[in-house]
Symmetry: C2
Amino acid sequence: MTVSNEVSVLDRLLTNGILASACPTRVVLDHVTSKWGVLLLVALSERSLRWGELRRVVEGISEKMLAQTLRTLEADGLVHREVTATVPPRVDYSLTPLGTELVARLLPLMEWVADHADAIVGDRT
Amino acid sequence: MTVSNEVSVLDRLLTNGILASACPTRVVLDHVTSKWGVLLLVALSERSLRWGELRRVVEGISEKMLAQTLRTLEADGLVHREVTATVPPRVDYSLTPLGTELVARLLPLMEWVADHADAIVGDRT
């Protein structure tokens, strides 16, 4: 699809159906911005991590949600799961090139939220 | 808080507790990346919209979720609600300066997702 530079970002998103229901964009957006999806992607932003490391870094995630969210991100092609045949088997999770591209766009948002969260929640007196 | 440039983004986010449970960052992140929160913020990225316009643009949102999400975003100081005393009263929603800052960081992510959603969902055969 060719999009002119004259077209605004919002028009472009509307054209691509990001605000319409039942479109792939909504599905991916739900995965990426799910409570745990976003935290797992950021946790993997610098290096691969093992299951137990992910559980520790992403505080509060249950075994069930960790398994489920990793499966979704793996099916989306954003996270790579590598099993090394040791005893016991070692499983490492890392970002795929696609996941790395995505996280590059997630981090500025996360940083902004981290910088402004206290002020935002503090506004609610 | 002063953060050295030497500190990685991930370290910085960990220091700010973005991956820890029960911190303001997680609360704000949940609001901002909620299914409807992100779509409403993007919908308002260019101009103020009225209630009915928001319902049409953000396809599939219920009256209840629209009201609830707008209340949360307003309480966070991200969305401004302006009532004009006409008969019937006119209510416009717009981004606050804080909301505008946030959306500037949301749009690159949304564009990337819109550009890659078909490929990502198509991967799942």
